[in-house]
Symmetry: D2
Subunit: 384 residues, 4 copies
């Protein structure tokens, strides 16, 4: 990427992040209702800290930190921090205020923009590019987290959201893929994350895959057929999970007066049967597939079939655990923590959601989450 | 109390509550760092709800609720609530906003003031009086909670606080009280809480009691003499408590570079040895007394000796469990929940703190907390 | 006590402990189903350790320990232990075996008997006396713990038990006691525990107290009248306790096919309405009294009225928290841990149960338990 | 397998299980120190229940159950149980006694032997074969569980154990495997578990694999080089795991007086540097490989290279998550719960341990455990 282009890209992404937060009241910025949901303020500051720490501090001459405390407070790579008396608890950190964090953002944005005008070398451009993609990942998390924060208010407030879904047809057509050796991984010269590299061959058995994802209507049939009560459909861990947490439907679904509703940007609404089902855990996706006497595709099957699929509204759980590709290499230094250290106890999701940045919506992108998580925009596609 | 007087009293107390919150940023209003600490916004709204629910709704003609949801959201008497989908979790409730809560306060304050101008009968005056005292109790809690919220920021911000203490002399004089039958409880016609009633006689053995409370300097000697390492000084539960929570000093004390500091309104400061020790649990108060080869006074001893004591900077743990007085009667209805239901697993504190409203500082006032709590302004007085 | 008498007393008590364990299978000796229930093997060994540690080691010439490990393994005064790699977890300690523990008992019993034949001085006789009373307290705990262990077998086995109760009349007569100054505490020269000493005066207001304890029949009315669903009857902590643990009846009560049964030595049986209710927590005793519009007596009221009461089948919860008497003194050394360190967060029970040794059944005896415990033989008496 | 052969096989395996328990005292049979460790008594009964439930009840004419309760008590497939009042808690179930369980074993063993003499059809023979292999799996678990039970006695008792390891050479030779398409899964006609079926092709990249497993000596170097303190070597979950549990060495390792010892059948002994390292979690295996700048092999690499490896003393963690093979089919009915429901959150181990039955030691065998478990005989082999 050339320096002019990256500067424009950078500025746009920085603004986009702030636009996502526009519907929030000051009060909404600081809470952390569950451990997986970070306060929006933290996202705003952490993505800024990333540019300051990895780019401005090492590469910008005479750069002076906005605030020394921030390098400690907004570091998500806690492992080498720790000299301070109190560990920052994200949801209780009311200071710095939202206003101060926006001021921090402005300061760093300007400094990076200046750096990008000074004929930066490739190292800097590459780091800025990573920083931008990192911020775009946090944009998607912001969508999830804002929904969780507002969706757990007893008053179910409505807000301006990216959650605008399009109706899909119920599964009609299964696409057949032939067996053979296929190549997996990111082969273009464009940006990708380290976990997509390590291009390699894989042997795929013949399989069928649905062109469309599962709808609310199909999922409702699963519920009404007693899917959540039949342990034969579930992993042992999944069964324990739904029992312990008394789960009987996707996240944000509520049965009121005998009818299923869900919370979305418009408040509490009746389920639309033709939209993709969303907010299911891996356990639920697996159980649904069992009930249909089908299965989830592996991430390799998905990648091989991708060009023939309708996708992009919800992330799709795959049958694949999140593991390194054969030639995976960790980046050196702190950036090396980026992906590798999460490669256990997670499952891969493929595709993209309505909250995903367009440039992240590529067929080699490997998203991943713990099997019990449901607050992200996750859905189901079947194979057999 | 006459209606004019009570109106002035009411207006002052309502303003005072808001003044206590003045040093806060919007962000500070909504967090609940531990279960015992409520968000300041919640205090502001709950004290308002109390007037709306118990006075305006039943007694003000054509009163219309500010917002129907609030009667659910700001009720601390949860036991008969419960029809809603989500239970409000005080620390995650970002809506209504602080601004809306202040507007709610204004609406209710005005309505009560109007009611008090309409020649209210005694029932109303008595209820308003309870509401005012209720709000004053929450004022004291606000002092504790604000300190806890800000004192748990990694940056230890300073703020304008009521925590202005005066140096006291180290224990010098022990006051002797003779044995005999004494009368306990509130006998005047002025306001008191239900737990102070049930005036009754009690037999007191002869005892000595210190004129002053324990200082930071004396407590430091206890720490340095290994008080926190000698299990013989502690209750079994107390020993478990300090082991499990790794407690080695009062709350807000930090040893940095070999010197003890504490957090107060001015940030992190060196310990002043001549101020009263504060933020100790009952377990610590008891262990300190054991170490001094003395004991804590009972609440009856305290009340009998009160006129001869210097008190009023910190609440003082007594040896008495919080139990009903012989003729204690619960008030009817929801107000009956007020005190009686807490009469187990708590210890009584007597006196008053710098955060206590003047009119609550009376010798029959029975404050009470769980023995492990430390975030309130609690100190120690010795007897033997 | 003369040395001959004490020797006979000692031998009888040692045998009695073993007799209590007679119905057990080897497997029953080692489990610890909840933290409050110790394995019978542990009781057998710990009461033996007490004699070895406090009498034989310091006073018996050339005494050699049965096994060095045991002084560590069977010490309940863990606070000064701790040099070992692993802390003994009572319920997982399968070694030493039951057989070895009986052999340890025999060894120590013989050694103490020999010591008692050597014209022991008063110090030794007093210590042996404490040891015997200590063992008798553990005998009562053995009854509770054995019932808990067998009563939590899915097969509800029957066994030979001390739980033989006599029918009592429903409350008929309330005994009136006059107000005045009364003396409390153990005044005779016979044995008592340290917590009964500190004889002192107390002022008692006039009160009425029931001659008999509450029956299963009366308690059943409380259940059927919705006592467990009406939060107005409960302490806040009590309400949380029964909600969290889904408690709707005394421990060991099961509703099968619409009828209440309970587990006792004879297996699962239909409730006998004329027997005293047993296995209730303080919270339940309090709520029952509220429902009856009466209250629990204080421990002082109980002691003053004791001579007029029918008691001795179940321990009776009092309204009194367990606190030191005015002149309470801790014994020196490890024995000082005996009672004082438990004087917080507990309530006093008075009377005696069918599992109590006759010589412990005295009107000054202060038993105590945490308010939520129910596995001991605890019942209810009302006052007002 | 012919019916005669299977009868001999059956009888031998039944006896072997009992032989493994020979070093136990009665007390050792009933405890469950952690949730993953079942009481030996439970293994003895559960493996018996399996034959009774799946073979005798449906196929043996006029078979009468040994005890109706047992079908409930010794069922590990709890999902469809549940009508009883109390759920059996394995570690607290002191009844039936060990003696009764042995009698139950005898009864069922005889009944199965009789059935096998009555010219059984293939269905029965196949089910008995599964039952035998099921019991052999429990034999291996018995070795782990007995070690855990005795190894957590504060006295570290010695006992007769299968843990007899042979010294191995430190890694010297790396075996090179060529890239290509390989076939994976059990292709012979002999017995295997359902998870080994679904024979399929896989593409393997070229790799190197160590001929031998990692020794205690090599692992000690990792410890001494600060492996447990360098978070860069660990998965995020692994780092949390070792921090939270204060893990600084394999299970059963204790540093006493500056020297590392471990517990094995002979009590506490000095580490032998030439034996394979054992009792490590997946997290530790992974971190060790990172430290060596190598990696763990995948289960497919392992299977392809197996014929060239020295293995059989310890199970070897692979980099592969436990997932179904492409053509995996669940068995019908309750037996279908056998493997499929565990295929999430687990990692595959390959090879065999000294506690494994010879007939289970095959190159297609897929063992699996949660990544944090360490009580099984698990070790490490490196690849790159």
């Amino acid at each position: 990427m050339r320096s002019k282009e990256i500067k424009r890209f950078f500025s746009e992404v920085r603004k986009k992040t702030e636009a996502i937060c526009r519907p929030l009241a000051i009060e909404d910025y600081s809470v952390q209702p569950v451990v997986d949901v970070s306060p929006p303020k933290w996202h705003l500051a952490h993505t800024t800290w990333f540019f300051e720490q990895f780019i401005l501090v090492p590469y910008k001459k005479e750069y002076s930190l906005y605030n020394e405390d921030y390098s400690y407070l907004f570091n998500s790579y806690y492992n080498n921090a720790g000299e301070r008396v109190l560990r920052p608890n994200r949801g209780l950190m009311t200071r710095p205020t939202v206003e101060e964090v926006y001021s921090y953002r402005g300061y760093v944005t300007t400094a990076v923009e200046m750096l990008l005008e000074e004929a930066p070398d490739d190292t800097i451009i590459n780091l800025v590019e990573i920083g931008i993609h990192h911020e775009q990942q946090h944009q998607e998390l912001l969508h999830y987290d804002i929904k969780y924060i507002l969706g757990n208010q007893p008053t179910f407030p409505s807000y301006e959201t990216a959650e605008i879904l399009t109706e899909v047809e119920r599964q009609k057509k299964l696409i057949a893929i032939e067996e053979g050796v296929y190549t997996i991984g990111h082969r273009e010269s464009t940006f990708c994350f380290d976990n997509e590299l390590g291009v390699h061959k894989t042997y795929i058995q013949p399989f069928l895959i649905s062109e469309t994802v599962v709808t609310n209507g199909e999922y409702l049939e699963f519920i009404e057929d007693g899917g959540y009560e039949d342990f034969n459909l579930w992993h042992a861990d999944g069964w324990d999970f739904i029992r312990k947490n008394k789960i009987t439907a996707p996240l944000y679904w509520y049965k009121t007066k005998g009818t299923w509703h869900y919370y979305n940007g418009k408040g509490l609404e009746k389920i639309n049967k033709n939209l993709p089902v969303m907010h299911v855990s891996y356990y639920e996706a697996f159980a649904f597939a069992e009930w249909k006497q089908m299965r989830l595709p592996t991430e390799f099957e998905w990648e091989v079939a991708a060009s023939k699929l309708q996708y992009g509204q919800v992330w799709e759980w795959t049958a694949s655990a999140y593991l390194p590709y054969p030639n995976f290499k960790k980046a050196a230094g702190a950036l090396g923590e980026y992906n590798g250290k999460f490669m256990v106890n997670q499952h891969v999701l493929r595709g993209a959601s309505v909250a995903t940045s367009d440039n992240h919506s590529r067929i080699t992108y490997r998203n991943f989450f713990n099997p019990q998580l449901r607050w992200m925009f996750s859905g189901i596609r079947l194979a057999k």
